[in-house]
Amino acid sequence: MSKHTIKKFEDKAKVWVQFPEQCKSCGLCIEVCPKQVLSWDDSVLGHFGRPTIKCDVKNCIECKLCEKICPDMAIRVKD
């Protein structure tokens, strides 16, 4: 865990954060999100040089399923 870039998506109190260096672009988070608010983000590449994740945080319900499934702790949803 050398670098620490942060991508933050906020909506009022809701904060959805991604750490691109940790993201291996597996897509599991997109898959498990019950609100389907996550999608590929071609603009920032992850650990393997592939797209990371962006969040349509407005519709996020803070269920944290994405954070929990992420094998690489690349997502953090504010408590």
Binding site: K24, D42, F48, G49, R50, P51
Partner: protein, 195 residues
């Protein structure tokens, strides 16, 4: 680089298609009736570990599947920089994906370098998946024993089953090779490098 024999080291990370690329080039060399030996070299990680391909092709007898110094290195990954450094010789040409490796990371690399923005070209013009074929194109432009057509034929054989499922891949690969060759040519001409 005009030689009658090439020692090529292709490096990257597991999952980037290093070995697939070697496979295709080996097949092409074989079809071109060249002597060729390709040896994959990687650790236990199925993805992510440094992945190397030692490829020797040309007209000389190949004594051992590994070599000490490469004529050409193709590096796809910053994380492979350290590992390939011992294979850099006096005349080594260092081709790399300048989207995944920054020039400054190669600061200490003394070899002659050829920066190819393979990922960005592939992503913007073709498909991110074929970035390695862009690098292959650049490599090809340096190997005077193999033609693009031969590589395309090899691709046909190696990826035949994939082409059936995804016919558009054939054209993407073809284009990627072309882009690579073109980028390599352009990269040189301005500085008038001896080829």
């Amino acid at each position: 680089m005009v030689k009658n024999h090439y020692k090529i080291l292709i490096a990257g990370e597991g999952g980037q298609g290093v070995q697939a690329l070697c496979h295709v080039l080996t097949r092409a060399a074989f079809e071109a009736d060249l002597n060729v030996v390709y040896m994959p070299n990687y650790g236990v990680e199925q993805r992510g570990g440094v992945s190397l391909g030692f490829l020797q092709l040309g007209k000389e007898v190949i004594g051992f599947p590994k070599f000490e110094k490469a004529d050409i290195i193709v590096n796809m990954r910053d994380r492979a920089i350290d590992r390939v450094s011992e294979y850099i010789g006096e005349d080594t040409l260092y081709i790399y994906d300048s989207d995944l490796i920054t020039g400054s990371e190669l600061r200490d690399v003394s070899a002659e370098k050829l920066a190819i923005p393979a990922t960005s070209i592939a992503s913007s013009k073709l498909s991110p998946a074929v970035f390695n074929m862009v690098l292959a194109g650049a490599l090809l432009s340096e190997i005077h024993l193999l033609s693009r057509r031969q590589v395309e034929t090899a691709l046909e054989e190696v990826l035949g089953y994939k082409y059936k499922q995804k016919p558009q891949l054939r054209n993407l690969n073809k284009k990627a090779l072309e882009y690579g060759e073109k980028l390599a040519r352009e990269a040189y001409e301005p500085v008038g490098r001896k080829r």
